[in-house]
Amino acid sequence: MYPIGRGGRAARTPEEKQAKKKKLKAKVGLAQHPQVVEIEVPENELPVWDLDAKLKIVGKGVPRIEGPEKVTGQAKYTLDYTPADLPGLLYARTLRSPFAHARVERIDASRAAALPGVKAVVLIAKGSGFDASSALLDVVADGPVLEPQDREVIAEGEEVAVVAAESDAIAEDALELIEVKYQRLPHVVDYEEARKPDAPRVHKEASSNVVPGDPQKTGDIEKGFQQADVIIERTLRVPVLLHNSAEPHAAVAQWEGKKLTVWASTQGVNGFRDDLVKTFKLDKADVRVITQHMGGGFGSKFGMQNYGALAALMAQRAGAPVKLAYDRHEENQAAGNRPNATMWIKLGAKQDGTLTALHCKAYGTAGVGRDASVTGMMATVYKCPNLRLEDSDVYTNAGAAQPMRAPGYPQGSFAIESAMDELALELKMDPLELRRKNFVDLPLLALEEMYQVGAEKIGWSRRPGLGPKTDSPIKRGIGMGTAVWGNGAGPPASSRVTIAPDGSVESAMAVQDLGVGTRTIVAMVTAEELGVPLEAVKVNIGDTSLELIGPDSGGSVTALSIAPAIRLAAANARQLLFQKLAPALGAKPEDLVCDDGRISVRGRPGQALTWKEATAKLGAPISGRGERLPNVAPYGDLPLWGAQFAEVEVDTETGLVRVIKVVAVHEAGRVINRTTFESQVNGGVMMGLGYALLERRTMDKSEGRVINPNLEDYKMLGPDELPEIETVIVEPITPMDNVGGKGIGEPCTVPTAAAVANAVAHALGIRVYELPLTPDRILDALAAKKA
């Protein structure tokens, strides 16, 4: 379901492989070292927006077009649908288990069902755990009284019953009237405890709480360590993080006969719709999912999940539209998290810094769910001929993990970047120099340029003068980490650009804008390709009924999956327009150009038609369609790179770490909107800083409950902790597709915590091997060093 590793899709299907091809030249790479490459593309593909492209709108910094809606409170999020929009709207609330593991022996919701204003009550009657996407309709019951024979809750916050009522308050009252008889069972929420053979079993069907993954092996790890002159071995730990998107999970569902409409706070309207179709056994044409604006997801909102299923179910039972939204506690118990990890890493290198072997064994908990893997990025970030990477999941009786911005990568980055800096110390090498020695061999690699500009902007040359030997109790340090992420952009993406006789232009696709600037990118690419001003384009997205499939927004794939499709659609629309106009201008369609909305014959700019004049000649609207074509091999498989540098100040008397500045150098090939690109980097860096210094989900082991499921005790970065963040964009254009760009959403959060940890270690001369770098840990480490 999660689109990571879509594989930078090259041609796969028989149609794609057999399509007529043509050869194109493109000038790619960095402007200072351009390379001319010849690529083979389908016949209808457009020339790449390469280094020679003269672009007027794409590449600039453009304020997001829905800005005015958002700053006036007019933008409608899922939570904002009220009875004024949907008469008879009911509010659903969920009764959740307070226990980490219990048998549900009896549920009596009769008093709740009888409460005036309550319109529907549903009980979860069967199963160990609750996953609405598998057989929802088989496990729910109307009750209102039930003595389930086989119902176990396996995490705090798991759904037990749902009510729908005329107001949120009545729904809450109804929940308090539901009497549940639980028989508590042994639980385990600490992943170290859960690994032990005598730990309470989380999943009855599993033979163990530990689920090892398949090790990733390259070369010969034994030989590799034998070849090493220096070997370091360390164990590092990172905690569970919570997404804490501003808008909680929410869905509003309305049935009309067998037609279902759901307004959803989701990262993927198409994936959500597909899940509804499967779960409720509906026809695809009868299901519509709409997301015009949503308040953040960061990976936690893919697919229908339980909230989407229960909203639709309650609407069905109540015969009225239903709004179901999690409150902040539910959000932080049951709506997803980033797994923790204990990572043992062993790194070997020759005296000159060349890596010879890397062995990492890691385990972590994804709660009752799966995929706590973290070592994958270690195979990509540096060159190492002999690798052994092993991940294990450990089940615990806690909320299931959901993908969180670059799943696994920030965890792995903390381990390998810390290890690289420790190795550099042993080898008496500059940490940047050590990394340079181990760059991967891949085309269009611009890491050297990124290191150089980042080092210059942070003042890397000051590094020898900083550190623990300075007089003041406030020590300063500088550290860095390399950002890497896999490219997943590619088909399918379908776009339609429509030009109407009144001059209006609409660019449509069933893709959603999470708040990353997708709408603006759609408008910019359309306007650029058509040759009209940005203001001329209206964007129509976020609605599956458009039937123009767009990607679910995960894996940093959206912008570069859709932009090439939009170019094709705009080009086709322009072609249709030119075909209509050519006779009137006494020319052939291929001789016409459109520039800033004026259409003329190439070479005769004086005789131009204005946009209004031109489109008035259309009797009816015309539409051009564009389908995203496969990525050009091997460019589609190349990772996304970056480098982040941090300068910190550590007060050795209080243990407080203050980040002074972060320089975030990132590539995205052709950047489409500079403004929203930088905002994405700000967001990724801030999340990474929160990881380094503040964030940590904490569980009470004996009660099996989340202690900080709120916004006051789960600490996130605020104005007092915000450092200066400088974003530097390096643009090696790639001929992967006709736009020449890459994604940014996730790479920008991968190395931040690692860079801060390296800076702190540099400042203090000792290292803390666990995040967050809280004052108590800093002081303990300093005390141990003294002793």
């Binding site: 304020p63 997001r64 800005g67 809606e69 700053v71 006036t72 409170g73 007019q74 409608k76 999020y77 939570l79 904002d80 009220t82 009875p83 004024a84 929009d85 969920t94 009764l95 959740r96 288990s97 307070p98 949120d168 308050a169 009252d173 929940l175 308090e176 009237l177 539901i178 009497e179 549940v180 008889k181 639980y182 997404h243 804490n244 501003a246 808008e247 909680p248 308040g295 953040g296 409150d327 902040r328 506690h329 539910e330 708040g515 990353v516 600037g517 929203t676 905002s679 994405q680 700000n682 967001g683 999340m687 009660e703 916004l711 006051e712 996130m716 970065l717 605020g718 104005p719 915000l722």
Partner: protein, 204 residues
């Protein structure tokens, strides 16, 4: 003992953790949590309001509204679900995130921590009250220009907190600006640009 904004008596934290769930639900340890239908004692000697709906008069963005709602209904609920002014967001319901910030007689308050009945007789301004038709206010314009928003969910609360500050201190310092929004959380990372936008307005 904790009293919630709804006027209910809650259990002590230790007992609470051991028994009832967060959203209610009685368990067979013998504890049945009954909502106490008593309004909390007020410092003025007025008779308690409720139970059941009472008449509430709210002045919002210059207009008077008369609503019938229970005394326990918060201002944010009244604004969003009854007056359909959904610009003010409800994200934590605990006064921790600032997304529900409105102005009440010029002061920034969390509308989730204010009972609608206690907002009577006050001038309430929400995000919808800032623009004049299509003409954006100065803060709103600056937010758009400096890309001081991403998903936009925290944005109304941010703008209201800053408006409260800048109305009182048009030349607010950088430190005052940071303090004003310290209670408004933003997960997308618009904070650097929010500070840029606010400082731009303060220095203009």
């Amino acid at each position: 003992m904790l009293k919630t904004k709804k006027g209910k008596q809650k259990l002590s934290r230790r007992k609470f953790l051991k028994t009832a769930g967060m959203a209610g639900g009685a368990v067979a340890v013998g504890m049945l949590v009954k909502p106490a239908r008593r309004a909390q004692a007020s410092t003025t000697q007025r008779p308690p309001l409720g139970p059941g709906d009472v008449e509430v008069r709210l002045n919002v963005n210059g207009k008077d509204h008369v609503l019938k709602l229970e005394p326990r209904v918060t201002l944010v609920e009244a604004l969003r679900e009854r007056l359909n002014l959904t610009g003010t967001k409800r994200t934590c319901d605990h006064g921790e995130c600032g997304a529900c910030t409105v102005l009440m007689d010029g002061r920034a308050v969390c509308s989730c921590m204010t009972l609608a009945v206690n907002a009577q007789g006050k001038k309430i301004i929400t995000i919808e009250g800032l623009a004049q038709g299509k003409l954006l206010g100065r803060l709103q314009k600056a937010f758009v220009e400096h890309d001081a928003l991403q998903c936009g969910f925290c944005t109304p609360g941010m703008i209201m907190s800053l408006k409260a500050l800048l109305d009182q201190h048009p030349r607010a310092t950088s430190a005052q600006i940071r303090a004003a929004i310290a209670g408004n959380y933003c997960r997308c990372g618009a904070l650097p640009n929010i500070l840029k936008a606010a400082n731009a307005v303060a220095r203009a």
